[in-house]
């Protein structure tokens, strides 16, 4: 005869082993099990206390044989994504790095010629877990609402991406989410990203009278239960228990924790055995002895808190205060580590906290998870009760803590300072809890920021007045001076006079102002004027190193355009200011380098392309519909391979192209958009494909490498991919745009958010923008999406069907490929997979290019 055991779980969930006492959920279990074979993601939702976790841990678990499922329960812990990784890592066992002779184990041996798409870390981990057990994996995210109550936006977004990846893996993996129904609305973003999320969902209803009767009567009849109802009175007693728990509430159902706690109370009344070994018979008398029970949970809590307070010679308020930290502002559970609690209860003895924690565990109000090293309230129903006991001040402190934590949780780079209003709100409570150093520093910085903002505002008023005055003075100077040369002298005089008289500026500051003016002129390609401005600055005998740098830039520019004589004069001026000799035997570039090597490097990067090494590899070219929902028919996904090469970090700028024009006696104005007043750091536009390849060969010559592009007598162009500077092939362009070996899974180059990486129709204000103004992609390449369309080497054609290495496109055609979209485009055109083409003769105010180079340095 089997041993009788206590059938109730108090506030714990039922598990697989408790199936003999798990009643009243047969329909829900069957439905849930059926859903498992209808969808890979299932949502189980319901009010708090309806037994969602038990339904999975006991109901569903018993539908499976052990080899049919590998359940992995994941709670949020500190971060849901990290907890998932940790849960998988634990079952994955020791990570076994494959030795080089076993790397083939990771290959798809069905078609080894096609390399397996690189597996994401989560997919790799799931594969490892599956191979270890060969069981379908069930990822069960219990109390999923914690992600929305305690998680950050970034954590939520990352989790959605992870789920999308999980749903794509080859192994049998299913996801079950349990959620309190009041948080259903929070799934809006999730459902948009994963439409199947809500296709299979099951609501767990609270238990009504019939179900409660089923539970109690079945337990009473079970031969393995040590609790039974008085024979002959079962139905009436079950009904009376339901009514007692329901009390005055006009409801047709009761939460299960209430039933569990009340049944426990009845058991103790009947037996007095807190080891719960003795057999109990619940009678009408037992029920009457329970008296008018009111709110079962509240009574239970208050009774326990009272006892704990007496035990530790503390006031009940102190115990409530500790408990309060385990409950969120919304009245839900908030798991905390011991250290978290110590930090929050600054000033309270750690020993006392330890002792009270222990008592709360013993009284089953708290639960401890060894895996996560965290304590939490045993059930959300208790959390709500604790929440209701809070004072206004406690609530205010929690609000302040949440505000501080949410702000400081952001990366310092994107974090905002507390506003003056927020500081006013938080200041009175700061001494009532312990702040982390980072939080304290941020509050301090916010105070300074508020102070600084006030000062700046005052200063801005002053400056606005000064600016107005400055403009009047400049205007007066311009009108007064007849010749261009005098303008600069007068400007200098005005600046100097203004500096000396009105603002008491030093000569150095005046020089800075003049050089700023020169820089503006350089930005606008007015090099001749800039030289004159720099001369003016030189006369002030201040800021010599900066003036010298300006001279060096002018020398560099003239030297690169072929005007060596002028360059030498300017170089001498710089050397004079720096009080360094010019090495007469060296080349102009070397001479500049000798005078200021850092500045020389800056100039090379300003006037010639900065190349980024791109490690070669194979990749899926075309549009991956799992990433991008706007695939075009001509963007067929196919495998391509490219050798290592280099790609220009930025699109070719006006500065760079103007240098080429000057050196070759072309007029840069032919390439500038008349109405734009193109600054030098904008990408050059109106460039024909032929201009771009000619520029590339010129850069090769300038850099002392062999030309990569050749033209035969019939005007047919050919490219040597191992030669010098050139246009990238279409495959190279797309490979680089997709992040090369990083295989970034984004719609645009570097992000799924076009605004963060590119200038396009909606944010460009109808024109190009300085290169590098948006975020780069994983390779550090800027503006691969948007700003200007970029010419590629290839003739436009449909993609090749077979795997090609370093494919250069067909040998002939009518149109050359364009990639990346422009300031004029809708976001669709800026997708990394998007292809366009035009006649190589075509010029447009949205067409530019960037260079490529092989072999890599």
């Amino acid at each position: 005869m089997s041993k009788k055991t206590y059938p109730f779980k108090f506030l714990d969930a039922y598990t697989r082993e408790d199936h003999k006492f798990f009643f009243g959920r047969e329909d829900e279990t069957r439905l849930l099990y059926e859903m498992i074979f209808q969808s890979d993601i299932i949502l189980l939702y319901g009010a708090s206390g309806t037994g969602k976790t038990s339904l999975i841990q006991c109901g569903l678990a018993n539908k499976f044989q052990t080899h049919d499922w590998l359940p992995l329960f994941v709670r949020r812990g500190k971060n849901l994504n990290e907890s998932l990784e940790e849960a998988l890592r634990k079952v994955e066992g020791e990570e076994q790095n494959l030795t080089s002779d076993l790397e083939w184990l990771d290959e798809d041996l069905n078609s080894p010629a096609t390399p397996r798409k690189p597996l994401s870390p989560i997919a790799r981990r799931l594969r490892a877990v599956y191979l270890r057990f060969f069981k379908p994996i069930y990822l069960i995210f219990d109390q999923f609402e914690e992600l929305y109550i305690l998680g950050t936006k970034t954590e939520q977004e990352e989790f959605i991406q992870t789920v999308k990846e999980i749903l794509r893996v080859e192994q049998p993996v299913k996801i079950i989410l349990t959620l309190r129904e009041e948080y259903l609305g929070h799934l809006y973003e999730f459902e948009r990203a994963v439409p199947e999320l809500l296709r299979k969902k099951l609501r767990v209803e609270p238990m009504n009278l019939d179900k409660v009767k089923t539970v109690i009567n079945n337990i009473s009849e079970s031969k393995e239960s040590n609790v039974r109802l008085q024979t002959g009175e079962e139905d009436k007693l079950a009904g009376a228990i339901f009514e007692k728990i329901k009390g005055e509430e006009k409801t047709l159902s009761i939460p299960l924790p209430y039933l569990q706690v009340f049944m426990d109370k009845l058991y103790l009344l009947a037996t007095g055995d807190d080891t719960r070994q003795a057999d109990a018979v619940i009678t009408r008398e037992t029920l009457n002895a329970a008296g008018d029970i009111g709110d079962v949970l509240r009574d239970f809590l208050e009774e326990q808190v009272q006892q704990i307070a007496i035990k530790h010679s503390e006031s009940p308020a102190s115990v409530w205060k500790i408990l309060s930290h385990f409950v969120t502002l919304e009245g839900t559970k908030e798991p905390l580590s011991r250290q978290n609690l110590f930090d929050r209860l600054a000033g309270v003895s750690e020993k006392l906290i330890e002792n009270i924690l222990q008592s709360l565990l013993t009284s089953r109000i708290l639960r401890y998870s060894e895996n996560e090293d965290r304590y939490e309230i045993a059930h959300d129903s208790l959390a709500r009760q604790i929440h209701e006991k809070r004072t206004d001040e406690e609530i205010a402190i929690l609000e302040v803590q949440r505000l501080i934590r949410s702000q400081v949780a952001l990366h310092a780079g994107v974090r905002e300072y507390f506003t003056e209003k927020q500081l006013l709100f938080i200041e009175p409570y700061l001494e009532k809890f312990k702040l982390k150093d980072e939080e304290r520093e941020w509050i301090e910085k916010s105070r300074e920021q508020v102070k600084k903002q006030k000062e700046e505002e005052a200063l801005r008023h002053q400056q606005q007045l000064a600016e107005a005055k400055k403009r009047n003075l400049r205007l007066r100077a311009l009108l007064a001076v007849a010749g261009v040369a005098l303008v600069f002298a007068l400007v200098m005089a005005v600046f100097a006079q203004k500096a000396l008289s009105d603002r008491k500026k030093s000569n150095g500051e005046v020089v800075n102002l003049i050089l700023e003016n020169a820089n503006d002129q350089i930005l606008n390609l007015e090099y001749e004027e800039a030289v004159k401005t720099i001369h003016s600055a030189a006369k002030l005998k201040a800021g010599e190193s900066k003036v010298a740098q300006s001279y060096l830039e002018m020398a560099f520019w003239h030297g690169e355009t072929g005007d060596t004589a002028r360059a030498t004069t300017l170089l001498d001026s710089a050397a004079l200011l720096l009080e360094k000799p010019v090495v007469s035997s060296s080349s102009l570039r070397d001479a500049i380098k000798n005078l200021d090597s850092v500045w020389y490097r800056h100039l090379m990067e300003k006037y010639y392309p900065v190349m980024v090494a791109v490690e070669g590899g194979s990749f899926y070219m075309g549009c991956d519909s799992t990433i991008d929902k706007n695939c075009f028919p001509n963007e067929i996904l196919h495998l391509q391979e490219v050798s290592s090469f280099q790609m220009a970090k930025y699109e070719t700028t006006v500065w760079q192209f103007a240098l080429y024009c000057k050196a070759n006696n072309f007029d840069i104005k032919d390439y500038l958009e008349p109405t734009w007043n193109d600054p030098g750091n904008n990408p050059v536009v109106n460039v024909r494909w032929y201009d771009a390849v000619d520029y590339a060969n010129w850069v090769s010559r300038q850099m002392g490498v062999a030309e990569a592009i050749a033209k035969d007598t019939a005007d047919n162009y050919s490219v040597n991919l191992r030669g010098g500077y050139r246009l990238p092939t279409e495959a190279e362009w797309e490979y680089a745009a997709k992040g090369g070996i990083h295989h970034s899974p984004f719609v645009y180059s570097g992000s799924n958010d076009i605004d963060s990486v590119g200038w396009y129709g909606k944010n460009s204000n109808g024109r190009t923008h300085p290169v590098g103004g948006k975020n780069p992609n994983a390779l550090g390449l800027y503006d691969m999406s948007g700003n200007v369309w970029e010419w590629c080497w290839d003739w436009a054609a449909v993609y090749p069907v077979s795997l090609e290495k370093d494919y250069q496109g067909p040998v002939s055609g009518s149109y050359r490929v364009l990639r990346g979209g422009s300031w004029f485009s809708t976001s669709q055109y800026c997708r990394v997979a998007r292809r366009d083409y035009d006649s190589p003769e075509y010029r447009g105010y949205n067409l530019g290019f960037r260079l490529a180079l092989s072999p890599p340095v």
Binding site: F37, L102, N110, R132, E196
Partner: protein
Amino acid sequence: MNEIRKITELLRKMIAADQLKEVMSVLQQLLEGSPLLNDVVILSGQYEGLEKNTRLGTILRENARVEKNTIMNALTGLVNELEENYQLYPVIQENGKNYLQTPESRVLGYTFNEHLTRELITAIKPYAPAAQRFLDKVALISDWESKPQINDKAKEIIAYSFVGVIGVQLGKLMAIGKEDFTADKPKTYVEKCLHIARQSFDLILFSMFSRLWDEMKKRPLTLPEETRKLIRKRLDHLKGPELDEQFALLINLYPVLLDINSELHLPEIEAMEVHLNEGTELHQAVKNLQKLSQRLEQEPLELADCAEAETQLTVLLSHFSFLVSYRMASIKNISYRQARHNEPAYIHHFAALGIDSKANKDAEKSIYTQDTAHTDAVLLYKGDHYQDCIVLSPFVIDYNALTFEGGSRICFYQLQPMEEELLEYLFLEDNSIVNLEFKGIQKADTNLGDLVMNKETYRMFNLDCVVSQFQEARRCLLGDALNFDDL
């Protein structure tokens, strides 16, 4: 001495296979009463501490590896000591003898699925390029079967290669093999072997029924009495199929199909004709599995039975290895499209069946084609396209497709309890029964348009169709009519 050597050899193998916990458990039993026991107890403590630290992440991975190696070396030393100086410890010899009498000692000689994996990966080689490549890769690796990473790869290839539902079941067999040993494990394992054997037979037999039915619809055929008897036995059975009866049916059906049409739907069966006789290795395997089946409910099974079941299943699946070149799909629905002045076309929405198939709607695939296909059908086919396929319905159904649900719920016809006027299908995932009762939703005056407008009546209509089709097929194959036909 022999006993000790036998045990020590196996212990070394277990150390190499990283089964340190198990080694320590065996050693503790062997060394009970000897001074060496303390060493094992200390090592066990160390190992448990190491496992805990690893679990809590309080030890660097590198250090954990070093510590584990130290424990492995110490265990190897103990095993060597045991082998070399066992005569110094008479108690060990006695323990050794006793230990070999225990059921768990049988675990030492047997590793679940090792034999099956080694044999099947070779058997499926002609049909599965992945298996061929795998064998090329391991050609120079001695004893690859004992290397978990390589062995798992072989298992993965087998489970992913075998046709649809059979591959899924093989995956489960691998899962059972990997579970910790419990008293129930032998029974669960043998049961799964038997299921796989029966379902493999059924898959072939159902495809033959399907073919035969198609032929008999075209021209009148009278089947030999013995064949009819066997078909009746399978279709009108009041119990599930028995392996020996399935084998007998296969032997009888094969020449019938050969006679009526030279083009078999499963042409590979022709190549195994010599095995379709009594007394062949295949027949012996069937008989042995049948014996195990009879013992299943009567007596507790042991590891030796698992080894036996595995060996016999391996023989059977090696003969049916051609199933690897087949695939299965379930037609979820078919829509029709014809733009003005354009050719009409059908859009077939179907779900591939196998371990890697997903249950989501998004995982279903579509074909835009001018070809027609049977709606709600489960198909068996070769290559990438199912146009030339064997329709397995109504013998095999996808319950979810019939009831407009996502995912697949593949069920094999099991039996028909005559008195209840329903058909029983077996849901392969958990061997639960799915009953299909004829509701007669379509009456003489039913407007079919109205009927399909309501999802619930449409579902019932679909399920009724399965029952009707089954009866039609049955009537045709048997050439007679029973009471159930008149539903």
